[in-house]
């Protein structure tokens, strides 16, 4: 076969528009997941056993089923069951957020549990409420331990976001497939797109490595 990138470079703007969607959906999902994951982690450690079970079922569901199945379910099945229709962007953001929040919840939980009970006791003995112990004593220490795995989780989420193309969100991967069909230069298009993904992911990996060196606990 003969390599011919001319058609790809001619439509680079089209791919870049897709890349913007990819970045948007990933960052927005991660922000939601960071908050949601913390809530789930706290419920997972709640004093009430029934609450703990709910959180752990949630975590298990999202971690033990394929992301693609979750996406399809939220985009196709959910509207049929409830009558609520949402745009592909919203459905994909929700889906990626829920998925990542389950993983982040476990990262939070591990980070929080890694802080010794002596630290909690010291805070409580001063007269802090459990909430103050969490925000003043436990989380500030746990966060530095959680940053490296959270960074890795974001990179995973960023690459997993390519699946949203299958529910018609016009992200980088969707743009690639459209352009491949249009130009019939499938290999060239996917090569360029892979390079774009790399160009976006490698700086993230660089930051995560830095976090590992700075805060990592072995």
């Amino acid at each position: 076969m003969e390599w011919n990138f001319a058609a790809v470079f001619e439509h680079l703007g089209f791919l870049m528009a897709g890349a913007v969607i990819t970045v948007q959906v990933s960052i927005l999902s991660m922000i939601i997941a960071i908050v949601l994951g913390l809530v789930i982690a706290l419920v997972r450690m709640a004093p009430l056993a029934s609450l703990r079970i709910v959180a752990s079922v949630y975590i298990d569901i999202f971690r033990s089923t394929p992301l693609l199945a979750q996406l399809v379910w939220i985009y196709f099945a959910f509207p049929i069951l409830t009558g609520i229709r949402v745009s592909p962007f919203v459905a994909c953001t929700i889906s990626l957020s829920l998925y990542a929040s389950a993983y982040l919840a476990e990262i939070y939980r591990a980070g929080i549990l890694s802080i010794s009970s002596g630290q909690r006791h010291a805070g409580l003995a001063l007269g802090m409420t459990p909430r103050q112990v969490l925000t003043r004593v436990v989380l500030p220490q746990a966060v530095t331990r959680m940053l490296p795995p959270m960074g890795s989780q974001f990179i995973t989420l960023f690459k997993d976001s390519a699946l949203v193309s299958l529910v018609t969100l016009q992200d980088l991967m969707w743009s690639a497939q459209s352009l491949a069909a249009f130009t019939l230069r499938t290999v060239e298009v996917l090569t360029v797109v892979a390079i774009i993904y790399m160009a976006l992911t490698i700086p993230q990996a660089f930051i995560v490595n830095h976090l590992h060196r700075r805060f990592g606990v072995d």
């Binding site: 002596g118 409580l124 003995a125 001063l126 007269g127 409420t129 003043r136």
Partner: protein, 248 residues
């Protein structure tokens, strides 16, 4: 009328099947220094942790200045402000400097202004001999220095009673003295103290009363000269003898 700061009635505590406290009663007067001794596993540390309810007693009642603190509706954070606690492992907050550790209680719990809290904290660190370590993180301090910061941190809440849970057990021997000196100073100033320790010299010199715990009950108690020299129970005498290694 006697001025009782802490009154404990028939305290019981079990961990699963293991009964650690089997009915302990005690009264501590204002300004009194009570030293609690006993073998490991005798329940003395658990007893201290029940006093500020870091451990939840199964049965029995505790009163702080005649107010019961073992009730269902007890506002625990409010009660604990008045009970200072120093731990074996120091438990300083590693992400804060020495002075931030001392300011943390007044700032977060009492909502004191930063300026006042800082001034008070620097006085307290001066008092425990650490005025040159204000901005140093705990990781850069020796064990003895960390424990003195921990004492200053507890003092910053102006507690009515202070609990010392084997506070010198994790220290290198040459660092024990500096911590005991600070504790003696507090005792001389009239602080009410319950001290779980293996430092018998501290008991002899500073305690008003020595309490011997054994298997979850108070085996005997009395003034230090009586317990250390003329203990009634054979078990107490044996325990004290074991602490003095005299060799072959």
């Amino acid at each position: 009328m006697a001025d009782v700061v802490v009154r404990v009635e028939d305290l019981h505590k079990s961990f699963d099947d293991l009964e650690v406290l089997k009915g302990v009663s005690m009264e501590v007067q204002r300004g009194e220094v009570v030293v609690i001794i006993g073998a490991s596993g005798s329940g003395k540390s658990t007893f201290l942790k029940c006093l500020n309810r870091l451990e939840e007693p199964n049965r029995g009642r505790i009163f702080l200045e005649d107010v019961e603190i073992t009730g269902q509706k007890t506002d625990l954070p409010k009660v604990r402000r008045n009970i200072g606690m120093i731990f074996q492992q120091f438990n300083l907050f590693p992400h804060m400097s020495a002075i931030q550790n001392v300011m943390e209680g007044p700032r977060t719990v009492l909502r004191m202004s930063g300026e006042r809290a800082r001034e008070h904290a620097s006085q307290l660190l001066d008092k425990v001999g650490l005025s040159d370590k204000l901005d140093v993180k705990p990781g850069q301090l020796s064990g003895g220095q960390q424990q003195r910061v921990a004492i200053a941190r507890a003092l910053a809440m102006e507690p009515k009673v202070m609990l010392f849970d084997e506070v010198t057990s994790a220290l290198d021997p040459e660092l024990v003295g500096e911590v005991l000196t600070v504790m003696k100073q507090l005792a001389d100033e009239g602080m009410t103290m319950l001290v779980v320790t293996h430092e018998m010299q501290f008991g002899e010199r500073v305690a008003d009363r020595v309490v011997m715990f054994d298997e979850g009950v108070i085996l005997e108690e009395g003034p230090p000269e009586k317990i250390f020299q003329r203990a009634e129970s054979e078990r107490t005498r044996r325990f004290l003898n074991q602490l003095h290694w005299e060799g072959e």
